[in-house]
């Protein structure tokens, strides 16, 4: 039996609140292949971050579970590296030291000092941040911090890369720049990625599949859209591509007609 790379199987989660249990997710099932780029999109509060946190192991599912290469996931670990929305770099360490902390933790038994150094520099190189290796987070821009955050996650050599609205806090230009960088890295490394976003263009541009989530509570997967566009993708060329426009329209239709947010209507 061929096992799926990452199997999210009938995951439900309940949070205890003052008014009893709050069921945030209900029966979320998703199978992801190796090297696939999957986006989770939905209105805020639909539980997309919760799905990611369960895969990361930061939350425990009440029902169902996660299988990674056939093994059940318990607790967080570097094989499921997370890129957080707010970079989450340690402000007292330089870019290099931030990546080093991860590398030392993951490779202390398998890599020599020299190899670790090369690996750190290699990952900073991937995100074009070698020039700021010795700068601390408060000395570099928001986009650069996010790049270092990505380098730290990539340096863990994760089986699955989890990205929680990685570009959400950035301005449009920086965001486009980083999306291009991410596509470039993805082409070389062919990582399995789950990315949360609320940006329709970002989802269509980057993903192989877009998972659209219904509104909470008891949120679940509404529709899954397969994005069949050739890679490398170019944002300018795609802007007028009828297929791209159609994908975009499908996601928008889902978000603003089928799953229109009641309170904001």
């Amino acid at each position: 039996m061929s096992t799926t790379h990452l199997d999210i199987s009938k995951v439900s989660i309940e949070f205890p609140t003052a008014k009893g249990f709050f069921k945030a997710l209900d029966g979320v099932s998703l199978k992801i292949e190796k090297g696939e780029f999957v986006s989770l999109i939905g209105h805020s509060g639909c539980g997309k971050s919760t799905v990611l946190n369960i895969v990361a192991g930061l939350y425990d599912a009440t029902e169902g579970g996660i299988l990674l290469d056939g093994k059940e996931v318990k607790g967080p670990g570097p094989e499921r590296a997370v890129v957080f929305q707010n970079h989450s770099l340690l402000p007292w360490l330089t870019s290099y030291q931030n990546v080093e902390l991860a590398v030392k933790q993951v490779f202390k038994k398998t890599k020599s000092k020299k190899e670790m150094h090369d690996w750190i520099m290699h990952n900073l190189e991937l995100v074009h941040m070698t020039h700021a290796a010795d700068k601390r987070p408060d000395e570099i821009s928001g986009g650069m911090k996010q790049r270092v955050g990505i380098a730290r996650a990539l340096a863990m050599e994760p089986s699955v890369l989890l990205m929680d609205e990685p570009f959400g806090a950035l301005d449009a230009l920086t965001r486009a720049h980083l999306q291009d960088s991410l596509m470039e890295i993805q082409k070389d490394l062919n990582n399995t990625v789950i990315m949360i976003t609320h940006d329709v263009d970002e989802a269509v541009l980057l993903s192989d599949r877009i998972v659209m989530m219904t509104n909470g509570p008891e949120a679940t997967i509404g529709e899954i859209l397969k994005v069949d566009l050739d890679r490398p993708r170019d944002r300018l060329a795609l802007a007028n591509d009828p297929k791209y426009v159609d994908y975009r329209a499908q996601v928008l239709t889902f978000l603003y007609e089928k799953q229109r947010k009641v309170e904001s209507a």
Binding site: P76, P78, A81, F84, N86, S88, W92, L93, L101, R136
Partner: protein
């Protein structure tokens, strides 16, 4: 051609603004204070004469400096005489081994300052050695926090004067040695300072440790950092700013407590100097006490600045406004 002129002008303006804010205004404040002091002092009459004004205090300061150098001179001569005597005896009898007797003159104002300084630093150092690790432990573990919190809350507001008799008795009873390394008075003052000043460091460290950003804790979890690495790399650095807030409060308290303890216990130090002058009751006394008051304030200020300098050096957060 106008541009360089302009930039020079703006530079000049900057320098002027800087000197006004950093020099002129403080100077003005000090002058106003001295003036008020002079006017106020001349209206207050005590049984020991007029309340000392700035001029009298300055004069007494000179007196204290002279007294100190006299005392040092006497000490020097005392040792010189002994050495000569020993030499003379050795000339007669080569097998004679001389023994230098220690000088036992009265400690001067500056000797007392020195005593107070190392006592406060020892007490504060001991308090920090206890409070920082304990604070980290409390901050990390809410059960330990719940267990220790009532004890901390009870002991935190206790005045040094209440501790003093207990500490004195315990030290006299337990520190018995024929050749003591420390004098009992030093230990009493030091432990009293420690007991009173450890609380702000303890509480601020605990709060700082407990307030580590959730995102950073998640990073630690994803990396599966071990307990020691987690504490050293994530918890302590992020608690450092609050830890220093606590340390500075503690050092301030330590200095105030020490003076009070020295006065009450008659332990050597600035507090004893003030008390002795008060008991002495000569016409110079009030002026000398005023010198001591100003000196206590000045040293307290220097201690705080020193702590600030250490904080600047240690803290990663250079953007933090330190005052």
């Amino acid at each position: 051609m106008n541009i360089p002129n302009l930039s020079i002008a703006s530079l000049k303006e900057k320098i002027e603004n800087f000197s006004i804010k950093s020099l002129l205004f403080p100077l003005f404040g000090i002058l106003a204070f001295v003036l008020l002091w002079q006017v106020g002092a001349s209206r207050v009459h005590t049984s020991l004469g007029e309340f000392p004004g700035p001029a009298v205090v300055y004069e007494q300061w000179g007196g204290l400096v002279a007294e100190h150098s006299n005392e040092r001179l006497k000490e020097e001569k005392f040792y010189e005489r002994q050495e000569k005597r020993i030499e003379a005896r050795q000339a007669k009898d080569p097998s004679y081994v001389g023994k230098l007797r220690a000088y036992t003159g009265k400690p001067t104002f500056f000797d007392q300052i020195f005593t107070s300084l190392y006592t406060v630093l020892a007490g504060f150092g001991l308090a920090s050695l206890i409070a920082i690790p304990l604070g980290i432990l409390i901050g990390l573990n809410s059960s330990v926090y719940s267990a220790l919190n009532p004890v901390i809350q009870i002991f935190k507001p206790v005045s040094p004067l209440a501790w003093l008799p207990l500490v004195t008795m315990v030290v006299s009873a337990s520190y018995v040695s024929d050749d003591p390394m420390f004098s009992k008075s030093f230990l009493t003052s030091m432990f009293t300072v420690t007991l009173c000043c450890m609380w702000p460091t303890l509480i601020n460290t605990a709060v700082g440790v407990a307030a580590v950003e959730k995102d950073l804790l998640n990073v630690s979890k994803v990396l599966r950092l071990g307990w020691v690495t987690h504490v050293m790399k994530i918890v302590i650095p992020s608690a450092i700013p609050l830890m220093f807030t606590g340390l500075r409060l503690s050092l301030g308290i330590a200095w105030m407590v020490l003076i009070a303890a020295e006065m009450l216990a008659q332990n050597p130090g600035l507090g004893k100097f003030v008390w002795d002058e008060f008991q002495n009751g000569s016409s110079n006394s009030l002026g000398r006490i005023m010198v001591a008051v100003l000196m206590i304030g000045f040293i307290g200020f220097l201690l705080d600045r020193a702590m600030l300098t250490v904080q600047r050096f240690v803290s990663w957060d250079k953007t933090q406004v330190l005052r």
